[in-house]
Each structure stands twice: as structure tokens, then as C-alpha cells.
């Protein structure tokens, strides 16, 4: 690896692919330095002009926020715009502003210092509250204060950002992402954040390439450096050499060509040439992703990971807060179905009040947690049921390993329905329910499980981990985590056959469903639904539309006779290359 100090050699930094696309151009290092505020004495004569500066800074701040608010409402919906509404209200707080102006006149201090001092008092009180909500409000107050101070100093936020640039930053708030995208932003690269960070979601919906989780991007990049980001592979290249630029441009061209071919596919059905329809839907974590899923031509949400709200908040939201999020997803996707997976907490995910377990993946997680916390479970079931009055809602239970669990969950669902009925709150009484098959015992008992529900969905990530006894986070064994392992393929076959025998449909929502190499095999095995990451959805649809179901079945039959993953993978790769040569697979 090249030394980071060198200014002529290129440097590769690996991160996480957050929004697809490739960008090459000058970097703009976006640092949100908290303004250092100094207290200065002013003369009595200067007080009036100091107050005028304050007033015009407030007016400018309000104008900025109104723009952000309008843009956010348009792009991301009014729910996301609420934080900016609160900030605008603070700018209009007469009591606050009167007392600031009074202090400027009486104490003869600079406006910057007085507004800082005054707002900091409230901020301090908000941070002292034990309530998470109040801590968020303290951030809003902080944002407003910094905006006013910046405007008092008459700095233009992006005066340095002239022409096109790739924004490099430690982290980006949703507001930053939105306002920056009004400039000519080629891409985003951030040190922190994951695929599910709000900034990542927003850049995807704005169609701007982004790479996050780069750790050291801001230390290696200076404003004006030529950099490249690869939003497919998740890489940042500082000072790319001509050969690298050429490779990236070729890759971008290849993908663009393919995307051109995909143009218009969003409005077409996921149907094979011999008219077998697959329900092709999207996996999401946040309501904000619905718009992108629709844009990509998704015919539903096959997995809505509701626990993201818990993880983001660090606590269980109240029924009302859950309901608001659930309703916006159900409404946004209607008339297409949305599968709400009930909180899947534990394992690798945070549960606010849990103690560390020796072996969390074999521990207290998924439905086990929720059945032990019936009050929390009932709250969520009520919230989901209430959303069912606003769209096409389905409910799915995760990590079910024994029959007793699904029966207990159904009883709780009935209790939730009864309580809504007696509260006179509307819901869909015929809401469809299903469970995830992700534990080997559920594969073996699939037929009995199928008899309890309307659908089964295969969660390949956990199923493979439990079936092959491989932790894919453990780098010494992660190469053994292979979804083309013959045992995995035969397990899928068992589940599909068992389900179909009971006349329930079978879906798949793990990562395997979104692997273009696996699509033909999965179609051939008889899967009725595939739920994938929205960014890959058009490609998967293209494959479904290119291969006859009849042929896919033959492929599946052949794959069931092979005994190593290498043979299977090789066969499928050459099949895809032959059938859809334009597919940009690595």
C-alpha cells in the first residue's frame, strides 16, 4: 500500500457501498466546525448595528431553512421535514429574540456571543433531561444556533464549493445531504455511517453515488484533490492514476449501457417468457426507502425490518410513533403488499435492556424476545394492525424454531385484534401472516409450520449460518459461508415443496435472493416471491424476464444433483453469461 503522505501516488481506501454509481472529480472537504464564539465588548453606538446584523442573520437563516424544508418535503415527505419546522419556529421566538436584543443593548456584548449564551442555556437544560426526545431537540437547537452564528458572520455555507465536487466529510446529517445536493454534487464519501444511515438512504433516493464507513477519508483527502468513488464496490481512490480512471470509466460505461437496457423495466412485471409471475419485492429498513423501492419497480416490500426504528432510537418507540412509521410505509406502497417483520432483536442487534450473552446468535433473539415481553409485542402488533387499515399489510415473525412459538404469536395477534376492536380502531381483520424460515428445525418442520400461516419466507443469512455452522463475521471461517452449498440448495427445495403441499406461497428475503447468479436457480426451485435490495431489483427482474420457467426448472434439477458449491457456482455463472451477456457481473 502506498504511503498516505505521498502526493503523487494513488491511494485506495475501502468502505461500504451506500449508493450506486461512479464519480471522478475534485474533492471538497466539508467540515462542520462548530463556530468558536468570542465575547467582545461593543460601544453604545454599535448596539443598533449589532442588532441589525442579528435580525438579518435570523431572516437569512429562516430563508435557508424554508428552502431545506420545501426540498425535504418534496423529496422525502413531511415526516422528515418536521425537524426543520421546529427549527423555523425557534427562529420566530419573539421572547427569545427580544431578550437577546435587550441583552445586547444593556450588556454591550456582540450579537454572536449573546445569542450563543442565551440558546446554550436552553440547550443545557434539554441535555440534562433523561428523555431521548429532548436530546434530539437539543441537537435542533444547536443546529439553529450554529446557523444564526454563521449568518451573523456573513459566511456563505458553500462559498468554497464552486462547480462540481465530491463531498468528503466525517459524517453527513440528513440536512447536510439535502442542502449539499442542491449544489453540483458528484458524490459523497464519509468516514462514518453504514448502508442504513439516513445520509446513505437519502443519497440513494437522490441518485448520487456514495461510499460510507471509510474511516480515514477526511485525513487523506484535501479540498481540490482529484478523487474517485466507486459506489458499487464501496471504494474511495485518492489521486487515481490514468489506468485506474480508465478502468472505472469502463465499469461506469458498462453499467450505464446495462441500465439503459433496464430503462422502462420498472413498469414491467417480473414474469418469465412462459408467463410464470414471480412477486419481486424490496427489503427496506426505513420508511424513507419506500420511494426508491417504487422507483426501482418493486411490486411490494418483502421485508420491512421494523427493528431499525428501535435501533435508531435506542429504545422501543411508543405505539403512536410505530404506527406513524408503519402507516407511511403501508400508504406509500399501496396497493402493493408490505411484509412487516416484527422486531428481530438480539443476536447482532441491540436490545436496550439486555445483558451480554455468551453466544447471542443461539440466544435470546427474534420471536423469543418478543414472546417473553408480551406487552412490547402487543404494542407492536397493535401498531402494525392499525397500519393495515391504510394499505396492504402482512405480518411476519422472525426466528421461529418451534411450533409453540408461532401458535403463541398468533394468540397475541388475536389479543391485539380484540383490543383494537373494543377500542373501535379500524384494521384489516384478514391480514395475512407468515413466518421466516431461518433455523434448521423450521426447515425440517416446514410442513407443520406452513399449516399455521399464509406464507413462508426464507431468511438465507441466518439459515446458512445455522445450517453450515459458520459465522460470516468471523474472517477465519467466513469463506465457508456460501449460499451455493448443496446443503443450502436442498434445504430450500425442502421448504418450497413442504409449503406448496400446504398451499402456502414461499418467498426469500435473504441476500441470496439478490444474487444475480442465484435467480435462475431460485425460480427453478419454485420460489413464488423474491425480496431484494432495491438497488439490485431491476437486474433481478431482467433475469426473470429473460429465462423461461421451464428452463429454470431444468437448471434447478441439475443443481440438485451436484455435490460441491464450486460446480454449482460455475454452472450458474456461465449460464447467466450466456443468457444475459450484458449483465455486469464481476
Amino acid at each position: 500500500m502506498d504511503s498516505p503522505q505521498s502526493t503523487t501516488t494513488e491511494l485506495f481506501i475501502n468502505g461500504i457501498a451506500a449508493a450506486p454509481g461512479i464519480a471522478i472529480g475534485p474533492a471538497y472537504l466539508f467540515t462542520k466546525t462548530v463556530p468558536r464564539v468570542e465575547v467582545k465588548a461593543i460601544s453604545r453606538e454599535e448596539a443598533d448595528s449589532e442588532i441589525m446584523r442579528l435580525r438579518s442573520a435570523i431572516a437569512r437563516s429562516e430563508k435557508e431553512l424554508q428552502k431545506i424544508l420545501a426540498f425535504t418535503e418534496l423529496k422525502l415527505g413531511s415526516q422528515n421535514a418536521k425537524i426543520f419546522e421546529a427549527q423555523i419556529m425557534i427562529l420566530g421566538d419573539r421572547i427569545l429574540l427580544d431578550s437577546v436584543e435587550k441583552r445586547i443593548r444593556e450588556e454591550l456584548h456582540n450579537a454572536e456571543f449573546v445569542i450563543y449564551d442565551e440558546i446554550s442555556k436552553y440547550k443545557k437544560l434539554m441535555l440534562e433531561a433523561s428523555d431521548e426526545y429532548m436530546h434530539e431537540r437539543a441537537h435542533d437547537v444547536d443546529d439553529v444556533m450554529n446557523r444564526i452564528i454563521r449568518n451573523i458572520r456573513d459566511q456563505k455555507l458553500f462559498s468554497k464549493l464552486e462547480g462540481e465536487a465530491i463531498i468528503v466529510s466525517e459524517t453527513l446529517t440528513p440536512a447536510d445531504t439535502v442542502i449539499l445536493s442542491r449544489n453540483q454534487v458528484l458524490g459523497y464519501a464519509t468516514d462514518l455511517g453504514g448502508v442504513t444511515s439516513h445520509a446513505a438512504i437519502i443519497s440513494r433516493s437522490l441518485k448520487i453515488p456514495a461510499v460510507v464507513g471509510l474511516h480515514s477519508a477526511t485525513t487523506h483527502v484535501h479540498s481540490g484533490d482529484i478523487i474517485a468513488i466507486d459506489g458499487y464496490a464501496g471504494a474511495l481512490i485518492v489521486r487515481p492514476q490514468p489506468a485506474t480512471v480508465e478502468t472505472l470509466q469502463r465499469k461506469a460505461q458498462r453499467i450505464r449501457n446495462f441500465e439503459e437496457q433496464l430503462h422502462g423495466i420498472a413498469s414491467l412485471g417480473a414474469e418469465t417468457p412462459d408467463h410464470r409471475r414471480i412477486e419481486l419485492s424490496a427489503n427496506i429498513e426505513f420508511p424513507e426507502e419506500v420511494e426508491f423501492a417504487r422507483m426501482q419497480g418493486s411490486a411490494g416490500i418483502g421485508l420491512y425490518r421494523t427493528e431499525s426504528q428501535v435501533i435508531a432510537k435506542g429504545a422501543f418507540p411508543e405505539e403512536e410513533e410505530q404506527f406513524e412509521a408503519y402507516r407511511s410505509v403501508a400508504e406509500g406502497m399501496a396497493p402493493f403488499p408490505v411484509i412487516f417483520r416484527t422486531f428481530d432483536i438480539g443476536g447482532d442487534k441491540v436490545i436496550p435492556d439486555t445483558t451480554r450473552e455468551q453466544n447471542p446468535f443461539l440466544g435470546w433473539r427474534g420471536i423469543r424476545v418478543m414472546l417473553d415481553r408480551p406487552a412490547l409485542f402487543l404494542t407492536q402488533l397493535r401498531a402494525i394492525l392499525r397500519a393495515s387499515a391504510h394499505g396492504n399489510v402482512r405480518i411476519m415473525f422472525p426466528m421461529v424454531s418451534k411450533l409453540h412459538e408461532i401458535r403463541a404469536a398468533k394468540q397475541l395477534l388475536q389479543r391485539a385484534k380484540d383490543s383494537l376492536t373494543s377500542d373501535n380502531i379500524p384494521f384489516d381483520p384478514k391480514v395475512k401472516i407468515g413466518l421466516m424460515i431461518e433455523v434448521p428445525s423450521a426447515v425440517i418442520l416446514a410442513e407443520e409450520f406452513a399449516a399455521e400461516v399464509d406464507f413462508l419466507s426464507i431468511g438465507t443469512n441466518d439459515l446458512i449460518q445455522y445450517l453450515l455452522a459458520v459465522d460470516r463475521e468471523n474472517s477465519s471461517v467466513s469463506q465457508l459461508f456460501q449460499h451455493f452449498n448443496p446443503a443450502v440448495i436442498r434445504a430450500i427445495k425442502m421448504i418450497v415443496d413442504a409449503g406448496h403441499k400446504r398451499h402456502v406461497w414461499i418467498g426469500m428475503c435473504g441476500e441470496m435472493a439478490g444474487d444475480p447468479l442465484a435467480t435462475v436457480l431460485l425460480m427453478g426451485l419454485g420460489l413464488d416471491e423474491l425480496s431484494v435490495n432495491p438497488s439490485i431489483l431491476p437486474e433481478i427482474k431482467k433475469i426473470i424476464r429473460s429465462v423461461k420457467h421451464k428452463d429454470a426448472r431444468k437448471v434447478a434439477e441439475k443443481m440438485l444433483t451436484l455435490s460441491t458449491e464450486d460446480e454449482i457456482k460455475e454452472f450458474l455463472a456461465s449460464l447467466v453469461r450466456n443468457k444475459i451477456p450484458e449483465l455486469p457481473i464481476e
Partner: protein, 88 residues
């Protein structure tokens, strides 16, 4: 001067939207309006102040109105809180 003691009834408490409504109603009157929760008192016409109160459902607030239209102000504000800010 009028003093009133009142409990917050609505589920979400004095969060942003109810806080804004409260300030808006109070600002229609000329009388001064202060809210005290425990030992902490703020100006009821200031949104940032009302937000800082962090008054949850069930919180007990002491309201103080002082001015020419204090009767009307007290009636308007208490009725808004009693109606739970028309939530739901």
C-alpha cells in the same frame, strides 16, 4: 393575576406541535404568561422555553397570567390543555 394548576393530558406531552399551539394561543393575548414545572419557570410565549419544559403526559404545570386580558388568556390556554391539544 391568575394562577392555575393543570395536568398535561395528551399522550405525547408538550412536544413540538402542542408546544407551538400553546405559544400561538398565548401570544394572542397581551397578558404575560409564565409556566412553572416543579422549580423551573419559563415564559409561556416562548417556543424554545416551552420545548425545554419537557412536560410529559401527566406533568403538573403551574400557569400564571398577569395583565389586562388575563381572564380570557387563562380560559383559552387551560381549555387547550384540557382538550389534549385536540390530538386524535
Amino acid at each position: 393575576m391568575i394562577d392555575r394548576v393543570i395536568a398535561i393530558r395528551n399522550r405525547t406531552g408538550l412536544h413540538t406541535r402542542p408546544a407551538a399551539m400553546l405559544v400561538k394561543v398565548a401570544s394572542r393575548f397581551r397578558s404575560e404568561f409564565f409556566i412553572r414545572k416543579e422549580t423551573f419557570e419559563i415564559n409561556g410565549k416562548s417556543i424554545i422555553g416551552v420545548m425545554t419544559l419537557a412536560a410529559e403526559q401527566g406533568a403538573i404545570l403551574h400557569l400564571r397570567f398577569d395583565g389586562p386580558d388575563e381572564e380570557e388568556a387563562a380560559t383559552a390556554v387551560t381549555s387547550l390543555i384540557e382538550r389534549g391539544f385536540d390530538e386524535e
